[in-house]
């Protein structure tokens, strides 16, 4: 028992320390950015948030605030990019959703998206029900329930206890499998880098990955595209209305 207590204490201290260590730099950059934003110095606010990003930190609130700073600074393409990034981490945040909508209204092109198939939408909604942390917590809780019911099942000699724990164990096991699957899907979704935002004011899409190729169409800042392929410095993109073209890599930022 004494050993157990010691281990727990060490774990607790370690975890505290690790949180402290990782939040230290990012937190101050974030706070500084917020200060600049408050003073309406949006370019400096953006730079401050950006420094936290460059230091290797991420978070929905960081992306969201950076998006706001870019929006106020008139860089609609980057604003949309970071709102999209924030939405990816925190899909059910109303503020992010709202600001993304407002920013999308400021884009020059209006590409009508094709309505997704209802089952796909339902699937996406299920996946986005919880964040990665949410799915992880759920899976962990279910895992604990499985262990407890298995423990009861194997140690108890009272048959009614055994029956209940067996049933609980089986159901929880199924739920656990589902939860882990959705966690995996959620991680896949978050790590999906097949979508991008046009960040230059005007981008000319070509018919082939070649400067001499004929122009296919022209798109403007802030448009969301699907990245389908990459050849050298060219990306094959597909617009939401199905148009396909090749644009230079630097015209686009991946969400």
């Amino acid at each position: 028992m004494n050993v157990m207590k010691k281990i727990l204490l060490i774990l607790f201290v370690c975890s505290l320390y690790s949180v402290k260590l990782s939040a230290f730099n990012a937190d101050s950059s974030f706070a500084k950015g917020n200060e600049f934003y408050q003073k309406k110095d949006y370019a400096k606010a953006a730079a401050s948030y950006k420094s936290a990003l460059d230091a290797g930190y991420a978070g929905a609130s960081l992306y969201y605030n950076l998006g706001n700073a870019y929006f106020r600074d008139g860089k609609i393409g980057y604003a949309i990019l970071f709102y999209e990034k924030a939405a990816k981490l925190s899909p059910n945040d109303k503020d992010i959703e709202h600001n993304l909508k407002i920013a999308n209204l400021r884009t020059i092109d209006k590409v009508a998206p094709m309505p997704p198939f209802i089952l796909f939408r339902l699937w996406d909604k299920t996946i986005l029900l919880f964040s990665v942390a949410g799915w992880t917590t759920l899976s962990f809780a279910l895992y604990l329930i499985i262990l407890i019911s298995a423990g009861v099942y194997f140690t108890s000699h009272v048959s009614s206890y055994q029956r209940v724990s067996f049933l609980t164990g089986i159901i929880t096991l199924l739920l656990f499998a589902g939860s882990v699957f959705f966690l995996w899907q959620r991680v896949e979704y978050q790590q999906n880098r097949s979508k991008g935002i046009i960040v230059v004011q005007t981008s000319v899409a070509k018919l082939a990955p070649d400067v001499q190729s004929k122009d296919s169409f022209v798109i403007h800042e802030g448009i969301k595209v699907v990245i389908e392929d990459k050849v050298n410095d060219w990306l094959r993109i597909r617009l939401q209305d199905g148009k396909i073209g090749w644009i230079a890599v630097n015209n686009l930022a991946v969400i």
Partner: protein, 614 residues
């Protein structure tokens, strides 16, 4: 001399020949032109005849008519040939007749026509024609044949004009721009007339004209003008709305009216009655062109001083109705806004009022329709139906619509203001602002930044990627495994003790039986039975793994049966055990045999059970 005589002779011949020839020409061949009258009315037809006379009419060829540039040929040339034989002398004539109509007023000359006759060209004389206005008083010329010409009637145009005329009248001469004027065209007649034929409709430059009523049938009424009784019919009633200022005029209305006139008898000629055919008294039809007077109207501009900005030229008396079909909608659902202006006045010239739309609405070009009512006062309604599409949710105000017109009755400008509308727009399905084009600046703005940095962590690291997470997962698992192992060992331990007891059972029984044997030898009955039952029950306890506290004979017997021990053996055990217990608590007096037999029986039973359980 001979030369002289030759010359003289030739001269004589030539002279003779010339005399002969000329007489022949003047006598036998002539080419003349004549017309039915030297004075003709502008609207009258007349005849021009070219006549060639000669002995041999067939020798005449290639007739060329003059150019009738000032006249319109209606028919011709109509050829006719005459032959006359007087005293054996044959004379023939061929005439070419044209019927012409003048083009304009003035004096004109019809040039010469030419013919070739026997290699010679003959020219006719030119004719002078004077074209006069209206029907010219024809000079009484020619014989009976000419008198039959309907044109040569003896009723003057002036006379007809006094008895048949069209009068145009306007109800006012001084109007404001856009005010209604009523013009009436009336036909006055004292003559018999046939069906009317419109030759020229009036034109209304600078007006918007609308017929008050369309007159289908002409009904005559009696009216006295200047002491004369006329039959009067209304031909046309027109409402005019001036679109310009200044002196405007309406061109006359022209009608061609066939008039029945009674032919006057020629009292100066006593033979006329005699020669006139009996039908000459029937009425003759004369075409008469009646022309109305020209109306002049003085149009003044509307007062400038207090004309409002919403005035778009409406003059009259109007009312306005503005409606929306629904006041609460979802985004992207259309609303219909209807502006209807109705009343009397220059309804067709009105421009419908514009209105402002709230931000976030799209306005489409309206569907307009006119509805005109005829009558003494021209009126009707003009409707515009706008389609409005709200793109964003919220409460939106459509401001009141203003319409200004000049009220002719009150002689002042009047402004009507409609009520405003509040439209409740709810968020509908689908994204807002999906329409293309310029996006309006919205009142909606982005939300403020977040101040809680709790979710910021190192990029790309998920909770399950950390060492601590997996440690947290392993701890309960380790606990679970430890629990399982602990439990297993305990189980194993308890099962080992039973085995030990099982193995020891026979030994213990032997030990106790040996002690019992000692008591049998010393004849200690009480201790013998105690030891014997101890041996028996102890053996069962150990062998069957039943705890001492839980042990009863019934339990043991049940357990034995379960372990497939033969029934008679169980029966024997029961009997012996009962007997043993019985004697132990109720001792008999000194009988040796039962002790010995009980001992033998117990040993046998234990051996048998041992055998059957093995």
């Amino acid at each position: 001399m001979k030369v002289f005589s030759n010359l003289v002779l030739r001269k004589i011949y030539t002279t003779l020949f010339l005399i002969l020839f000329v007489s022949c020409c003047s006598f036998a061949q002539s080419f003349t032109a004549s017309s039915s009258g030297s004075k003709v009315g502008l609207s009258e037809q007349f005849q021009v005849t070219f006549t060639f006379s000669g002995e041999e009419i067939n020798g005449m060829k290639s007739f060329k008519a003059p150019n009738f540039k000032d006249f319109m040929p209606l028919s011709g040339p109509n050829q006719s040939t005459n032959m006359t034989i007087i005293n054996g002398a044959v004379s023939a004539s061929r005439s070419f007749t044209y019927i012409l109509q003048p083009r304009q007023l003035g004096k004109f000359t019809i040039g010469s026509a030419t013919v070739d006759y026997k290699g010679k060209t003959f020219q006719s004389n030119p004719i002078h024609i004077e074209v006069v206005k209206g029907g010219a008083q024809q000079s009484q010329q020619g014989g009976g044949a000419k008198g039959k010409n309907p044109k040569s009637d003896n009723v003057s145009q002036k006379e007809i004009g006094e008895n048949l005329f069209i009068r145009a009248s306007a109800d006012r001469q001084q109007v404001l721009k856009g005010e209604q004027i009523n013009v009436t065209y009336k036909l006055y007649t004292r003559l018999n007339i046939a069906s009317l034929q419109v030759s020229k409709l009036p034109s209304y430059p600078g007006f918007w004209a609308e017929e008050n009523e369309i007159i289908q049938n002409i009904n005559f009424t009696n009216e006295t003008v200047n002491g004369k009784q006329y039959k009067v019919a209304t031909l046309k009633k027109v409402a005019l709305f001036p679109t310009e200022t200044g002196q405007l005029s309406v061109t006359p209305f022209e009608l061609k009216i066939p008039v029945y006139v009674q032919k006057k008898s020629r009292s100066n000629n006593p033979f006329d009655d005699f020669f006139n055919d009996p039908f000459s008294n029937r009425p003759e039809v004369v075409d008469y062109t009646a022309i109305s007077n020209t109306i002049k109207v003085n149009v003044q501009g509307l007062p400038q001083s207090n004309a409002s900005s919403s005035f778009t030229g409406a003059v009259g008396d109007f009312s306005m109705k503005v409606e929306v079909d629904k006041k609460s909608v979802k985004t992207n659902e259309p609303i219909k806004l209807k502006i209807k202006i109705s009343g009397t006045g220059n309804i067709k010239l009105i421009t419908l009022p514009e209105f402002d739309i709230p931000a976030g609405f799209e306005k489409y070009d309206p569907k307009t329709s006119d509805d005109l009512t005829h009558g003494a006062k021209i009126g009707g309604s003009k409707t515009a139906e706008y389609l409005l599409i709200p793109r964003f949710a919220g409460k939106k105000e459509i401001p009141p619509v203003k319409f200004t017109f000049y009220n002719t009755a009150k002689r002042q400008y009047q402004t009507i203001t409609s009520e405003g509308f509040t439209i409740d727009v709810a968020q509908g399905e689908g994204g807002s602002g999906s329409s293309g084009g310029e996006v309006q600046m919205l009142n909606d703005d982005i939300q403020y930044i977040k101040t809680n940095a709790g979710d910021i962590k190192e990029n790309g690291s998920f909770a399950f990627e950390s060492f601590w997470f997996w440690l947290l997962c392993i701890i309960p698992l380790a606990g679970f495994i430890w629990l399982l192992i602990f439990r297993k060992r305990e189980d194993k331990l308890s099962s080992n003790m039973q085995l030990l007891r099982y193995q020891k059972a026979q030994k213990m029984a032997k030990k106790r039986l040996k002690t019992a044997g000692k008591y049998l030898a010393s004849k200690n009955e009480e201790k013998f039975y105690a030891e014997l039952s101890n041996a028996l029950f102890g053996y069962l306890e150990n062998k069957l793994g039943i705890a001492k506290a839980e042990f009863t004979l019934e339990n043991a017997l049940e357990e034995l049966k379960n372990r497939n021990v033969p029934d008679e053996l169980v029966e024997a055990l029961m009997t012996t055990a009962r007997k043993c217990e019985f004697i132990r608590f109720a001792p008999s007096n000194g009988d040796e045999n039962p002790m010995q037999s009980m001992y033998d029986e117990s040993v046998r039973i234990i051996i048998d059970i041992e055998k059957s359980l093995a």
